[in-house]
Amino acid sequence: MEGNIKLITDDGLRLDGRAFNEMRPVKIQTGVIEKADGSAYIEWGANKIIAAVYVREAYPKHAQNIDRAIVKARYNMSGYSVEERKRPGPDRRTMEISKVITEALESTIVLEKLPRAEIDVFIQVLEADAGTRIASLTASSVAVADAGVPMRDLVVGCTAGKADGKMVLDLSKDEDNFGDADIPMAILPRTGKVVLLQLDGNVSYEEFNEAVSMMMNAMPRISEIQRDALMNKYNIEEGE
Protein backbone atom coordinates (compact mmCIF):
# COMPACT_ATOMS: atom_id res chain seq x y z
CA MET A 1 0.00 0.00 0.00
CA GLU A 2 2.82 2.37 0.84
CA GLY A 3 4.09 2.17 -2.69
CA ASN A 4 0.95 3.64 -4.18
CA ILE A 5 0.63 6.72 -2.01
CA LYS A 6 3.08 9.56 -1.89
CA LEU A 7 3.00 11.36 1.43
CA ILE A 8 6.00 13.58 0.83
CA THR A 9 6.07 15.69 -2.32
CA ASP A 10 9.18 16.06 -4.49
CA ASP A 11 10.06 19.48 -3.02
CA GLY A 12 10.30 17.97 0.46
CA LEU A 13 7.00 19.15 1.84
CA ARG A 14 4.06 17.14 3.12
CA LEU A 15 0.74 16.80 1.33
CA ASP A 16 -0.79 19.74 3.21
CA GLY A 17 2.27 21.89 2.52
CA ARG A 18 3.83 21.61 5.95
CA ALA A 19 7.51 21.06 6.69
CA PHE A 20 8.53 17.87 8.56
CA ASN A 21 8.66 19.58 11.92
CA GLU A 22 5.69 21.91 11.42
CA MET A 23 2.51 21.59 13.41
CA ARG A 24 -1.05 22.26 12.38
CA PRO A 25 -2.55 25.44 13.88
CA VAL A 26 -3.91 24.94 17.40
CA LYS A 27 -6.62 27.06 18.98
CA ILE A 28 -8.04 26.60 22.48
CA GLN A 29 -10.91 28.38 24.17
CA THR A 30 -12.07 27.93 27.76
CA GLY A 31 -15.40 28.42 29.48
CA VAL A 32 -17.44 27.23 26.52
CA ILE A 33 -19.98 25.34 28.64
CA GLU A 34 -21.80 27.48 31.16
CA LYS A 35 -23.11 24.69 33.40
CA ALA A 36 -19.85 22.76 33.62
CA ASP A 37 -17.32 23.49 36.37
CA GLY A 38 -14.69 23.85 33.69
CA SER A 39 -14.63 23.41 29.94
CA ALA A 40 -12.43 23.82 26.91
CA TYR A 41 -12.81 23.69 23.15
CA ILE A 42 -9.86 22.85 20.97
CA GLU A 43 -9.29 23.14 17.26
CA TRP A 44 -6.16 21.26 16.29
CA GLY A 45 -5.94 21.40 12.53
CA ALA A 46 -9.31 20.04 11.47
CA ASN A 47 -9.92 18.33 14.82
CA LYS A 48 -12.73 19.91 16.79
CA ILE A 49 -13.16 18.68 20.35
CA ILE A 50 -15.06 19.84 23.43
CA ALA A 51 -14.05 18.81 26.95
CA ALA A 52 -16.18 19.47 30.02
CA VAL A 53 -15.20 18.86 33.65
CA TYR A 54 -17.57 18.25 36.54
CA VAL A 55 -16.48 17.74 40.15
CA ARG A 56 -18.88 15.99 42.51
CA GLU A 57 -19.16 13.45 45.29
CA ALA A 58 -18.57 10.01 43.80
CA TYR A 59 -21.72 7.95 43.53
CA PRO A 60 -22.59 5.28 44.58
CA LYS A 61 -21.07 5.65 48.01
CA HIS A 62 -19.10 2.40 47.88
CA ALA A 63 -17.30 3.73 44.78
CA GLN A 64 -15.81 6.59 46.80
CA ASN A 65 -12.17 6.63 47.72
CA ILE A 66 -11.92 7.78 51.30
CA ASP A 67 -8.59 9.55 50.85
CA ARG A 68 -8.55 10.77 47.27
CA ALA A 69 -10.56 11.63 44.20
CA ILE A 70 -11.42 9.39 41.28
CA VAL A 71 -10.83 10.62 37.75
CA LYS A 72 -13.18 9.45 35.02
CA ALA A 73 -12.48 10.65 31.52
CA ARG A 74 -14.90 9.62 28.84
CA TYR A 75 -13.82 10.03 25.23
CA ASN A 76 -16.70 9.91 22.82
CA MET A 77 -16.81 10.34 19.07
CA SER A 78 -19.80 11.84 17.36
CA GLY A 79 -21.27 9.79 14.56
CA TYR A 80 -20.59 12.58 12.09
CA SER A 81 -17.02 13.21 13.25
CA VAL A 82 -15.40 10.91 10.70
CA GLU A 83 -15.91 10.32 7.00
CA GLU A 84 -17.82 7.08 7.36
CA ARG A 85 -20.40 7.29 10.14
CA LYS A 86 -19.04 6.04 13.43
CA ARG A 87 -21.41 3.75 15.24
CA PRO A 88 -22.19 5.67 18.45
CA GLY A 89 -21.23 4.36 21.84
CA PRO A 90 -18.09 3.06 23.45
CA ASP A 91 -15.98 0.58 21.55
CA ARG A 92 -12.55 -0.94 22.01
CA ARG A 93 -10.73 2.11 20.68
CA THR A 94 -12.62 4.81 22.59
CA MET A 95 -12.37 2.83 25.82
CA GLU A 96 -8.63 2.63 25.38
CA ILE A 97 -8.36 6.37 24.76
CA SER A 98 -10.58 7.11 27.78
CA LYS A 99 -8.26 4.96 29.87
CA VAL A 100 -5.00 6.55 28.76
CA ILE A 101 -6.42 10.06 29.18
CA THR A 102 -7.73 9.19 32.64
CA GLU A 103 -4.32 7.91 33.68
CA ALA A 104 -2.51 10.91 32.25
CA LEU A 105 -4.80 13.29 34.15
CA GLU A 106 -4.55 11.27 37.36
CA SER A 107 -0.81 11.81 37.36
CA THR A 108 -1.16 15.58 37.46
CA ILE A 109 -4.29 16.20 39.56
CA VAL A 110 -3.68 16.53 43.32
CA LEU A 111 -6.15 13.79 44.14
CA GLU A 112 -5.71 13.99 47.93
CA LYS A 113 -7.17 17.50 47.99
CA LEU A 114 -10.60 16.23 46.97
CA PRO A 115 -11.28 13.08 49.02
CA ARG A 116 -14.39 11.07 48.06
CA ALA A 117 -14.86 13.16 44.96
CA GLU A 118 -15.15 12.17 41.36
CA ILE A 119 -13.73 14.31 38.58
CA ASP A 120 -15.69 13.65 35.43
CA VAL A 121 -14.12 14.69 32.16
CA PHE A 122 -16.45 14.40 29.20
CA ILE A 123 -14.74 14.64 25.84
CA GLN A 124 -16.84 14.94 22.73
CA VAL A 125 -15.14 14.74 19.36
CA LEU A 126 -17.08 16.85 16.89
CA GLU A 127 -14.67 16.46 14.04
CA ALA A 128 -11.76 14.03 13.85
CA ASP A 129 -8.69 14.40 11.70
CA ALA A 130 -5.90 12.34 13.28
CA GLY A 131 -4.37 12.96 16.69
CA THR A 132 -7.63 13.23 18.61
CA ARG A 133 -6.38 11.49 21.73
CA ILE A 134 -3.62 14.06 22.18
CA ALA A 135 -5.90 16.96 21.27
CA SER A 136 -8.47 15.63 23.76
CA LEU A 137 -5.89 15.33 26.51
CA THR A 138 -4.53 18.82 25.84
CA ALA A 139 -8.05 20.26 25.99
CA SER A 140 -9.02 18.22 29.07
CA SER A 141 -6.06 19.46 31.04
CA VAL A 142 -7.05 23.06 30.24
CA ALA A 143 -10.64 22.27 31.24
CA VAL A 144 -9.48 20.77 34.54
CA ALA A 145 -7.40 23.88 35.27
CA ASP A 146 -10.40 26.03 34.33
CA ALA A 147 -12.51 24.09 36.85
CA GLY A 148 -10.08 25.05 39.60
CA VAL A 149 -9.16 21.49 40.41
CA PRO A 150 -5.70 21.49 42.02
CA MET A 151 -3.13 20.10 39.62
CA ARG A 152 0.64 19.93 39.57
CA ASP A 153 1.09 20.85 35.94
CA LEU A 154 -0.78 21.28 32.68
CA VAL A 155 -0.48 18.17 30.55
CA VAL A 156 0.85 18.87 27.08
CA GLY A 157 0.67 16.40 24.26
CA CYS A 158 1.90 16.03 20.73
CA THR A 159 2.22 13.36 18.07
CA ALA A 160 4.90 12.35 15.65
CA GLY A 161 5.18 9.56 13.17
CA LYS A 162 6.76 8.09 10.12
CA ALA A 163 5.44 8.81 6.66
CA ASP A 164 7.16 7.78 3.46
CA GLY A 165 10.20 6.78 5.50
CA LYS A 166 10.60 10.25 7.03
CA MET A 167 9.91 11.25 10.60
CA VAL A 168 7.24 13.97 10.71
CA LEU A 169 5.61 15.98 13.47
CA ASP A 170 1.84 16.07 14.07
CA LEU A 171 0.49 13.52 11.62
CA SER A 172 -2.36 14.45 9.31
CA LYS A 173 -5.19 12.06 8.50
CA ASP A 174 -3.50 10.67 5.40
CA GLU A 175 -0.15 10.27 7.11
CA ASP A 176 -1.89 8.50 9.97
CA ASN A 177 -3.82 6.16 7.67
CA PHE A 178 -1.10 5.39 5.14
CA GLY A 179 2.08 6.11 7.11
CA ASP A 180 4.34 3.61 8.83
CA ALA A 181 4.14 4.69 12.47
CA ASP A 182 2.23 6.93 14.86
CA ILE A 183 3.66 8.02 18.23
CA PRO A 184 1.45 10.06 20.55
CA MET A 185 3.18 11.44 23.62
CA ALA A 186 2.16 13.65 26.54
CA ILE A 187 4.40 15.17 29.19
CA LEU A 188 4.30 17.38 32.25
CA PRO A 189 6.32 20.34 30.96
CA ARG A 190 7.83 21.39 34.30
CA THR A 191 9.57 18.10 34.99
CA GLY A 192 9.50 16.60 31.52
CA LYS A 193 7.90 13.44 32.88
CA VAL A 194 6.08 11.36 30.32
CA VAL A 195 2.44 10.61 31.19
CA LEU A 196 1.34 9.08 27.92
CA LEU A 197 3.37 7.31 25.29
CA GLN A 198 2.03 4.94 22.67
CA LEU A 199 3.47 3.56 19.49
CA ASP A 200 1.59 2.12 16.57
CA GLY A 201 3.78 0.83 13.75
CA ASN A 202 7.44 0.17 13.25
CA VAL A 203 10.31 2.56 13.91
CA SER A 204 13.99 2.07 14.58
CA TYR A 205 15.67 3.25 17.77
CA GLU A 206 17.16 6.30 16.00
CA GLU A 207 13.86 7.19 14.39
CA PHE A 208 12.10 6.97 17.71
CA ASN A 209 14.62 9.32 19.29
CA GLU A 210 14.20 11.74 16.44
CA ALA A 211 10.43 11.69 16.90
CA VAL A 212 10.73 12.33 20.63
CA SER A 213 13.11 15.25 20.19
CA MET A 214 10.83 16.75 17.55
CA MET A 215 7.85 16.48 19.92
CA MET A 216 9.82 17.88 22.83
CA ASN A 217 10.60 20.95 20.72
CA ALA A 218 6.94 21.43 19.89
CA MET A 219 5.67 21.07 23.47
CA PRO A 220 6.51 24.58 24.71
CA ARG A 221 4.49 26.10 21.88
CA ILE A 222 1.40 24.06 22.76
CA SER A 223 1.94 24.83 26.42
CA GLU A 224 1.92 28.53 25.56
CA ILE A 225 -1.37 28.15 23.68
CA GLN A 226 -2.90 26.43 26.73
CA ARG A 227 -1.85 29.26 29.00
CA ASP A 228 -3.15 31.91 26.61
CA ALA A 229 -6.48 30.08 26.49
CA LEU A 230 -6.81 30.20 30.28
CA MET A 231 -5.79 33.85 30.37
CA ASN A 232 -8.14 34.96 27.59
CA LYS A 233 -11.22 34.04 29.59
CA TYR A 234 -10.32 36.54 32.26
CA ASN A 235 -8.77 39.14 29.99
CA ILE A 236 -6.65 40.32 32.83
CA GLU A 237 -4.68 43.48 32.62
CA GLU A 238 -1.37 42.58 34.13
CA GLY A 239 0.00 44.84 36.81
CA GLU A 240 -1.87 47.72 38.38
Binding site: D37, G38, V55, R56, E57, I66, D67, T108, V110, K113, L114, P115, R116, A117, A145, D146, A147, G148, V149, P150, M151, R152, D153, L154, L188, P189, R190, R227, L230, M231, Y234, I236, E237, E238, G239, E240
Partner: protein, 222 residues
Protein backbone atom coordinates in the same frame (compact mmCIF):
# COMPACT_ATOMS: atom_id res chain seq x y z
CA UNK B 1 -0.45 48.12 46.33
CA UNK B 2 1.93 45.62 44.85
CA UNK B 3 1.40 44.14 41.39
CA UNK B 4 -0.47 40.87 41.15
CA UNK B 5 1.42 37.97 39.66
CA UNK B 6 -0.62 35.49 37.64
CA UNK B 7 0.42 31.86 37.82
CA UNK B 8 -0.54 28.64 36.07
CA UNK B 9 -0.44 25.11 37.46
CA UNK B 10 3.21 24.10 37.79
CA UNK B 11 4.63 27.62 37.88
CA UNK B 12 7.37 28.20 40.43
CA UNK B 13 6.44 30.48 43.30
CA UNK B 14 9.07 32.75 44.70
CA UNK B 15 8.14 32.73 48.36
CA UNK B 16 11.04 34.85 49.60
CA UNK B 17 11.00 35.05 53.40
CA UNK B 18 7.27 34.38 53.57
CA UNK B 19 5.68 31.10 54.50
CA UNK B 20 3.85 29.27 51.70
CA UNK B 21 0.27 28.49 52.70
CA UNK B 22 -2.60 27.62 50.30
CA UNK B 23 -2.57 26.41 46.74
CA UNK B 24 1.02 25.23 46.44
CA UNK B 25 2.92 21.99 46.49
CA UNK B 26 6.50 21.36 47.47
CA UNK B 27 9.13 19.63 45.41
CA UNK B 28 12.80 19.64 46.42
CA UNK B 29 12.13 22.54 48.82
CA UNK B 30 10.78 24.65 45.97
CA UNK B 31 7.13 25.63 45.70
CA UNK B 32 4.86 25.38 42.68
CA UNK B 33 1.35 26.58 42.02
CA UNK B 34 -1.55 24.14 41.98
CA UNK B 35 -4.01 26.55 40.41
CA UNK B 36 -4.50 29.07 37.70
CA UNK B 37 -4.75 32.16 39.85
CA UNK B 38 -2.95 35.10 41.39
CA UNK B 39 -0.22 35.16 44.01
CA UNK B 40 -1.31 36.91 47.19
CA UNK B 41 1.31 37.99 49.66
CA UNK B 42 0.32 39.00 53.16
CA UNK B 43 2.58 39.93 56.06
CA UNK B 44 3.55 36.36 56.87
CA UNK B 45 2.18 34.12 54.16
CA UNK B 46 2.02 33.53 50.43
CA UNK B 47 -1.20 32.12 48.99
CA UNK B 48 -2.46 31.30 45.53
CA UNK B 49 -5.96 32.66 45.05
CA UNK B 50 -7.50 30.57 42.26
CA UNK B 51 -9.75 32.23 39.68
CA UNK B 52 -12.13 29.33 40.01
CA UNK B 53 -12.36 26.50 42.48
CA UNK B 54 -15.03 24.28 43.97
CA UNK B 55 -16.41 25.34 47.36
CA UNK B 56 -15.08 23.19 50.17
CA UNK B 57 -16.97 23.28 53.49
CA UNK B 58 -15.30 25.24 56.31
CA UNK B 59 -16.50 25.43 59.88
CA UNK B 60 -18.48 28.59 60.76
CA UNK B 61 -19.09 29.56 57.16
CA UNK B 62 -22.59 30.88 56.68
CA UNK B 63 -23.92 29.36 53.52
CA UNK B 64 -27.11 29.01 51.50
CA UNK B 65 -28.13 25.45 50.75
CA UNK B 66 -30.83 23.63 48.87
CA UNK B 67 -32.61 20.61 50.32
CA UNK B 68 -31.89 17.65 48.07
CA UNK B 69 -33.13 14.64 50.03
CA UNK B 70 -34.97 13.83 53.22
CA UNK B 71 -34.09 10.97 55.55
CA UNK B 72 -35.65 9.84 58.82
CA UNK B 73 -33.61 12.27 60.95
CA UNK B 74 -31.58 14.34 58.48
CA UNK B 75 -31.87 16.50 55.42
CA UNK B 76 -29.27 16.23 52.67
CA UNK B 77 -28.32 19.69 51.49
CA UNK B 78 -26.66 20.85 48.28
CA UNK B 79 -24.16 23.55 49.24
CA UNK B 80 -22.84 24.45 45.77
CA UNK B 81 -19.92 22.13 46.40
CA UNK B 82 -18.83 18.72 45.16
CA UNK B 83 -19.84 17.46 48.59
CA UNK B 84 -23.32 17.33 50.06
CA UNK B 85 -23.89 18.51 53.61
CA UNK B 86 -26.25 17.15 56.26
CA UNK B 87 -28.68 18.96 58.51
CA UNK B 88 -29.80 16.95 61.53
CA UNK B 89 -33.28 17.58 62.93
CA UNK B 90 -31.86 18.47 66.35
CA UNK B 91 -29.78 21.29 64.84
CA UNK B 92 -32.87 23.27 63.91
CA UNK B 93 -34.84 25.80 66.00
CA UNK B 94 -37.96 23.65 65.63
CA UNK B 95 -39.09 20.68 67.66
CA UNK B 96 -38.89 18.04 64.94
CA UNK B 97 -39.99 14.45 65.37
CA UNK B 98 -38.16 11.70 63.56
CA UNK B 99 -39.88 10.87 60.29
CA UNK B 100 -41.76 14.15 60.26
CA UNK B 101 -39.10 16.26 58.54
CA UNK B 102 -41.21 17.25 55.54
CA UNK B 103 -43.37 19.45 57.78
CA UNK B 104 -40.46 21.89 58.11
CA UNK B 105 -38.26 21.63 55.05
CA UNK B 106 -39.09 20.00 51.74
CA UNK B 107 -37.03 19.07 48.73
CA UNK B 108 -36.17 22.23 46.79
CA UNK B 109 -36.40 24.56 49.81
CA UNK B 110 -33.48 26.86 50.49
CA UNK B 111 -31.94 27.53 53.89
CA UNK B 112 -29.46 30.01 55.24
CA UNK B 113 -27.34 27.88 57.56
CA UNK B 114 -24.00 27.64 59.29
CA UNK B 115 -21.48 24.84 58.88
CA UNK B 116 -21.07 23.56 62.42
CA UNK B 117 -18.81 20.57 61.84
CA UNK B 118 -16.49 19.64 58.99
CA UNK B 119 -13.85 16.93 58.85
CA UNK B 120 -10.82 15.97 56.80
CA UNK B 121 -12.80 13.89 54.33
CA UNK B 122 -15.01 16.94 53.65
CA UNK B 123 -18.09 15.60 55.41
CA UNK B 124 -19.98 18.46 56.99
CA UNK B 125 -23.00 19.14 59.14
CA UNK B 126 -25.14 22.24 59.12
CA UNK B 127 -26.92 24.07 61.89
CA UNK B 128 -29.84 26.50 61.85
CA UNK B 129 -29.35 27.43 65.51
CA UNK B 130 -27.84 30.88 65.34
CA UNK B 131 -28.85 34.49 64.81
CA UNK B 132 -30.29 35.17 61.39
CA UNK B 133 -30.22 31.56 60.22
CA UNK B 134 -33.53 30.51 58.71
CA UNK B 135 -35.46 28.93 55.92
CA UNK B 136 -35.54 31.27 52.91
CA UNK B 137 -39.23 31.54 52.06
CA UNK B 138 -39.41 34.13 49.30
CA UNK B 139 -36.92 35.68 46.93
CA UNK B 140 -34.61 34.27 44.31
CA UNK B 141 -31.37 32.32 44.42
CA UNK B 142 -28.48 32.89 42.05
CA UNK B 143 -25.03 31.41 42.16
CA UNK B 144 -21.61 32.93 41.62
CA UNK B 145 -18.26 31.20 41.58
CA UNK B 146 -17.11 30.61 45.18
CA UNK B 147 -13.76 32.49 44.80
CA UNK B 148 -15.69 35.59 43.66
CA UNK B 149 -17.71 35.81 46.88
CA UNK B 150 -15.28 38.15 48.69
CA UNK B 151 -15.45 40.56 45.73
CA UNK B 152 -19.27 40.48 45.69
CA UNK B 153 -19.26 41.35 49.38
CA UNK B 154 -16.50 43.95 49.01
CA UNK B 155 -14.30 45.46 51.67
CA UNK B 156 -16.29 45.30 54.92
CA UNK B 157 -19.40 44.73 52.82
CA UNK B 158 -19.38 47.95 50.86
CA UNK B 159 -20.09 46.39 47.47
CA UNK B 160 -23.10 44.37 48.61
CA UNK B 161 -24.41 47.27 50.69
CA UNK B 162 -24.14 49.52 47.66
CA UNK B 163 -26.18 47.09 45.56
CA UNK B 164 -28.70 46.61 48.40
CA UNK B 165 -29.23 50.34 48.89
CA UNK B 166 -29.29 51.36 45.26
CA UNK B 167 -31.66 48.62 44.11
CA UNK B 168 -33.75 48.56 47.31
CA UNK B 169 -33.53 44.79 47.78
CA UNK B 170 -32.70 42.36 50.55
CA UNK B 171 -29.64 40.25 49.77
CA UNK B 172 -27.91 37.44 51.64
CA UNK B 173 -24.58 36.21 50.32
CA UNK B 174 -23.62 32.69 51.27
CA UNK B 175 -19.91 31.94 51.52
CA UNK B 176 -20.49 29.06 49.09
CA UNK B 177 -21.54 31.30 46.21
CA UNK B 178 -25.32 31.02 46.49
CA UNK B 179 -26.91 34.46 46.83
CA UNK B 180 -30.48 35.17 47.92
CA UNK B 181 -32.14 38.30 46.54
CA UNK B 182 -35.58 39.47 47.60
CA UNK B 183 -37.70 42.53 46.79
CA UNK B 184 -39.71 43.98 43.92
CA UNK B 185 -39.32 41.96 40.75
CA UNK B 186 -37.71 44.81 38.78
CA UNK B 187 -35.35 45.62 41.64
CA UNK B 188 -34.39 41.97 41.99
CA UNK B 189 -33.60 41.83 38.29
CA UNK B 190 -31.39 44.89 38.60
CA UNK B 191 -29.61 43.51 41.65
CA UNK B 192 -28.96 40.17 39.96
CA UNK B 193 -27.62 41.99 36.91
CA UNK B 194 -25.32 44.02 39.11
CA UNK B 195 -24.03 40.95 40.96
CA UNK B 196 -23.34 39.18 37.66
CA UNK B 197 -21.29 42.18 36.52
CA UNK B 198 -19.30 42.13 39.74
CA UNK B 199 -18.64 38.42 39.28
CA UNK B 200 -17.51 38.93 35.69
CA UNK B 201 -15.27 41.89 36.42
CA UNK B 202 -14.10 40.76 39.85
CA UNK B 203 -10.42 41.12 38.98
CA UNK B 204 -10.63 44.71 37.68
CA UNK B 205 -9.72 47.83 39.59
CA UNK B 206 -12.10 50.59 40.65
CA UNK B 207 -15.10 48.31 40.35
CA UNK B 208 -16.99 49.83 43.28
CA UNK B 209 -17.00 53.27 41.66
CA UNK B 210 -18.10 51.91 38.30
CA UNK B 211 -20.80 49.85 40.02
CA UNK B 212 -22.09 52.89 41.83
CA UNK B 213 -22.33 54.78 38.54
CA UNK B 214 -24.01 51.85 36.83
CA UNK B 215 -26.63 51.56 39.56
CA UNK B 216 -27.31 55.30 39.60
CA UNK B 217 -27.85 55.14 35.84
CA UNK B 218 -30.30 52.27 36.25
CA UNK B 219 -32.24 54.31 38.80
CA UNK B 220 -32.34 57.30 36.47
CA UNK B 221 -33.89 55.24 33.69
CA UNK B 222 -36.74 53.95 35.83
Amino acid sequence: METKQIVYPGDKIDTGDLKPRNGMYENNSEYFSEYFGVVQKSEKFVDIAPFNSPYLPRVNDKIIGKIMDIGATMWTVDINSPYYSLLHMNDTPWHVYSGDLTRYLNIGDYIYAKISVSNEIKESWLSLRDNGLKKLETGRIISVKPPKVPRVIGKSGNMINLIKNETDTKIIVGQNGFIWVDGDIENVKNAIGAIKIVEKEAHTIGLTDRMSEYLKKLKGEN
